[in-house]
Symmetry: C2
Subunit: 333 residues, 2 copies
């Protein structure tokens, strides 16, 4: 295993100074074409590639052209789309993306972010876990830009890109009550996730508004896997007064619930998924656009990185209730 060649090596090989090599590599125009050619030849011969770590060190105050993305779970399709959009924008800004998962664990989130900060990332897009993000203060003070996506972080004054979770849930419930439903179950993910909490609050508020009491017999929280949701669906159906409709807090839950629900029970689920139209009945969803979210967050981040110091903004992206059949089933009379 050879040592990585340095500028000095190239300089020696080309018979010039290291500075000239630096100029050539950086595309500085003030070099004679013949000199540049000599250097290029040496570079090719030695297989030289500039060490950006060393470069960054000297060019203080400059950008490392690296941004970080911390999501709850990289494997989730929603997150994957968001990440893809972030990567696309980053590439257009000649930056690379460090990615990590918090798995909704604050300690892990802090560890991973710390590793990112130590590598001097220019900015961080974060789907924040519930809890205090005070540990980000230092990094932000010294120039690391932060943008929250999907969830907002309590007590952290940064740009955010979210949807109106509460409003969307209210819309879903109104959609169901308009079809005569008065026993509407709620099946949800962990309540300590900001989006989920908001959606549940919307569920409660909408029932209230319709004069329907919230009945904990047909409410389930903490569902993480499709199987959890299937079990929960079966269990609310076994309640003394079973529901005629179900609201699912997210795609995973909707999917699991769908597998366990009889076809005549109405269902509205957050998050669109590819096969939703092909199920029987096709699933009515509240669709959001993860790519738009990633795209928006990344654009916000880079404008901050490039010096935008205006007051922090919260961008609320629209959602769309897509009626496909499962949400339009009427209540039995």
């Amino acid at each position: 295993m050879l040592a990585r060649p340095t500028m000095k090596d190239v300089a020696q090989c080309a018979g010039v100074s290291a500075m000239t090599v630096s100029r050539v590599v950086s595309g500085d125009p003030g070099v004679l074409p013949e000199t540049a050619a000599k250097v290029q030849r040496a570079i090719r011969k030695l297989g030289y590639q500039r060490d950006d770590l060393a470069r960054q060190l000297r060019r203080k105050g400059q950008l490392t052209q690296t941004v970080a993305l911390l999501v709850d779970n990289v494997a989730d399709p929603f997150t994957a789309s968001l990440a893809s959009a972030v990567e696309e924008v980053a590439r257009r800004h000649d930056s690379v993306v460090l990615i990590g998962s918090s798995h909704d664990d604050l300690r892990r989130e802090r560890e991973v972010i710390s590793a990112f900060i130590a590598r001097r990332v220019d900015g961080l897009i974060l789907i924040p876990v519930k809890g205090s993000h005070g540990f980000l203060r230092n990094a932000m003070t010294t120039g690391t830009r932060v943008v929250c996506a999907d969830r907002s972080a309590f007590g952290l004054d940064v740009d955010s890109v979210v949807i109106d979770n509460r409003g969307a849930a209210e819309e879903a419930i109104a959609h169901l009550t308009a079809r005569g439903h008065r026993r509407i179950a709620y099946l949800g993910d962990r309540l300590d996730i900001w989006t989920i909490e908001e959606r549940y609050e919307g569920y409660r508020a909408a029932l209230d508004a319709a004069g329907i009491p919230v009945d904990q017999d047909i409410v389930r929280h903490g569902l993480r896997l499709p199987q959890d949701a299937s079990d929960a669906a079966a269990s609310v159906l076994a309640a003394p007064q079973p529901p005629t409709a179900v609201l699912a807090s997210n795609g995973i839950v909707g999917l699991g619930a769908r597998a366990a629900l009889p076809a005549h029970i109405a269902l509205v689920s957050f998050d669109d998924f590819l096969l939703a139209p092909q199920l029987n009945p096709p699933v009515t969803v509240i669709a959001q656009d993860p790519a738009a979210m990633g795209n928006t967050a990344a654009h916000l981040l880079f404008s901050r990185i490039y010096g935008d110091d205006s007051p922090t903004r919260t961008v609320v992206l629209p959602t769309r209730l897509i009626p496909r059949g499962s949400g339009e089933l009427p209540a039995p009379t």
Copy 2:
């Protein structure tokens, strides 16, 4: 915006030398507890965090504890699962993960990898695009480890983790011919993707073995989106002698085909997807395990990073044909 505090700042604040701070930060035991406490206090007071970029520079030959993952498309669920597994293993080795998409474009692949190499990644996991990867030679010579996942790279002597694509396709065709099918369409993604080429070869070989001629009237390539696949499905059904069964080269194609195929046409698709069992008929698939693939690739990579110099290996992970109904429909007599 303040400047990031340095070791010197901490040293001054604590009344010690920079070297002592370095020892404390690195957990060197040879420091008096009281001295260490003083330093810790200063660190907290200033919000100091070590600059790993500078650290790496001095500790030559040491690892940057950063690995890179280059996939075809981050947004793809298969890829997302793989990435998640890689990240998990990396974290256990105290490393972070740079991620990028090639979008099956060689030029872009090279650009992104180049950006990774410039940041001195310890290793790279790659889903290689078709084409020459000679540009990786230099990096490999100077110590960057490379592992291929999902696809093997022609002429690149590195560890690989793949499945037996050809064999799995043959198994699928045998599964269909055993049920009397002799008109089996092939709907596939781009043929210049190694896995797809192998699968198509398996399709042809299995038909040959069964004495069935390959008919280009019911073969389609280059399908990238579900809609492409739906259109292709409709078009092969309109052939003079329409197929009674379909093999789909991957999940996206299978999904699109499913939407356009009448329920009586048999279907076997590569790649399992969450809702496959809930479709009507439920979809028979050739399932692979992307998490196992990412996990295996990451373990191979880190063992190389830690100095394993044994001959390169190719790990072939098992696939599983899961009969769910759509692949067991008999041919009409």
